[in-house]
Symmetry: C2
Subunit: 342 residues, 2 copies
DNA sequence: GTGAAAGCGCTAACAC
DNA sequence: GTGTTAGCGCTTTCAC
């Protein structure tokens, strides 16, 4: 890394001159025009990038805020990040949580391991991690993160946890279908490069309950790398697959909102009436499920609650570190609509 | 701010002992159990929060990445943040952009001013700002940000800009309506706490073209603080408002995807046929507009292109600072569907 | 106009 | 086991 000293040496001036020029306060020290240009050119040529850690450290007037790493995969729940930022803004504005700075560490599902060095280097005052796949959980288990760490999924005793009970959600959907007299049901889910543990848990909960309740259940899954350009297309394909099943189920639990939009489109196109011919429950928050015709019964991942809880827990942990690991299991509300009345 | 020295003094040990204990390397220095506990307790009681700037500075083995501030308002395009992170991940993985760290500075529309101190303190190697309201633009104009700064909206000559031509989009919609023989049209937009400049620009472009083309145009807008629980409800209300208009327009440009979902729901409910009775073009990316019945013609905010360009520009700026301000105006593609065929 | 030097809070090598 | 000390890269005061 090139520092102001390197530049100073190259140009033949002192480090402070470089500092003045590069932080735009040249006139304050009345550095000569030519010298300024020399320094600027050298900095550019040498690829100088100011070291913010050093800058912050020496800027004593500014209070330093805790820095939290938010590991994030774009494959996650797409609206969560936005909700999270909104909640942070609201809570700090209302004085409900101390101020913090969130830095996003992008990371694909299953590739949390790549963040290993950053996470273990104690670079952040806190860490928020969605442990989305088995590999991620494995990695976290084998890694000792010093900073207070809040998991969004994946239960590891020594870390804090803010999550929902996916298995129970799956089971509840099965119970509703059973109560409605269905004998043959299905669960539909898109393909994941690395199986998402949350999907797998809901799936397992659903299938277990089906077995207990003596309902036939088929699993309809996309193929990783299948010929779908997006989740809606995948939903269309999966709906086709479901309708080709020998005994077409009379109720289906669709685990992804966009997949649902595609599948519903196919169902409607084939004249399948919902809920009369087919009851549908969707796991997802996409607002359009509300205005769809028929309107769609959903189970919601409670993004706002999760975000609020996450921020609260993190804020508390910063103030009293070393607290006993917290486990907050939040409610996943059912919103009953036409596609599957209560 | 309490430092390890404060703790050391309070407990009566050396700072290095405190450092060892608090960063979990107590056994490495073989600090006695009791002393560890003493230090831990004191840190907790005194509300110690490690200063990450100091930590990073002294951890010499780790390379420091440029830190970019991403000012963000949750009222923005909701999926953009996610797209942005995905794009960042993809581009750095593919070696198309140097690695960077993005820190999110939450900030409501029109309240950019509150970030003034952070932005002008040279705390970040780069800044990305959506200047969404007139107040924001005013603030940016009057502020001198040293770090390379990329605007997502709002044209300020000394900063870089990656954006779309909203005025032209509005004009193009009007031209399409005119070509289709409409004489009476409408533009519909939700309420904003602070008027969004992008909405205002599309609005202006639309109205100007309407005037030029001699079409009657009404503006249907939500009231700030109106009785809508969400954008879909607001769309329903606005649709009602539109239908009460003396001369109901035969084509409408809806500036928000969720508002559109609400409005379309009302139109469908009233038996209004699209496109026969009413042509609809929506500004928005919500996927459900594709599967809506009728499917909806949209103009898309090109999130992926914007994100890619933004990252590219920022990466280049880091390597050669002081470059001439860049202006990248990206295309907003029309996707023609049933609600308004080409 | 310019450079030397102190110090921001922390880590880690080293001496005791 | 524990304390001393030398930086990390930068800003800023102060002497020249």
């Amino acid at each position: 890394m090139v520092s102001i000293y390197d530049i100073a040496k190259a140009v033949g001036v002192s480090a402070s001159a470089v500092s003045y020029v590069l932080s735009g306060r040249a006139e304050k020290a009345r550095i000569s025009r030519e010298k300024q240009q020399l320094i600027l050119d050298a900095a550019k040529k040498m690829g100088y990038i100011p070291n913010m850690a050093a800058r912050k450290l020496s800027l004593r007037n500014m209070t330093h805020l805790p820095e939290i790493a938010l590991c994030w995969s774009p494959e996650q729940h797409p609206g969560f990040l936005n909700t999270f930022i909104g909640m942070l803004q609201d809570m700090t504005a209302a004085g409900q949580a101390r101020e913090m700075r969130f830095t996003i560490l992008p990371c694909r599902n299953g590739e949390l391991e790549k963040l290993g060095p950053v996470l273990t280097a104690n670079y952040y005052n806190g860490v928020i991690v969605p442990a989305v796949s088995d590999d991620d959980i494995e990695f976290l288990k084998s890694t000792e993160i010093q900073a207070p760490t809040v998991l969004l999924f994946g239960d590891i005793p020594r870390y804090h946890l803010v999550t929902v009970d996916n298995r129970r959600t799956g089971a509840e959907v099965a119970e509703i279908f059973h109560r409605h007299g269905h004998r043959s049901v299905a669960v539909m889910q898109p393909a994941y490069r690395q199986m998402s543990v949350t999907v797998a848990q809901r799936n397992a909960g659903f299938l277990e309950s089906c077995e207990k309740l003596k309902m036939d259940a088929v699993v309809i899954t996309g193929e990783p790398g299948g010929p779908y350009s997006n989740r809606i297309e995948e939903g269309r394909a999966l709906a086709g697959k479901m309708l080709e099943t020998g005994k077409v189920p009379t109720a289906v639990f669709i685990q992804h909102d966009l997949v649902a939009l595609g599948a519903l489109d196919v169902f409607c196109g084939k004249g399948i009436r919902m809920p009369e011919d087919l009851e549908v429950i969707v796991y997802g928050n996409n607002e359009s499920l509300e205005v769809h015709s028929p309107s769609v019964t959903t189970v919601q991942y409670p993004t706002e609650d999760i975000a609020r809880e996450c921020i609260t827990v993190m804020a508390e942990l910063l103030d009293k570190p070393g607290a006993e690991p917290v486990r907050r299991i939040l409610e996943t509300p059912f919103v009953f609509r036409e596609s599957c009345p209560p």
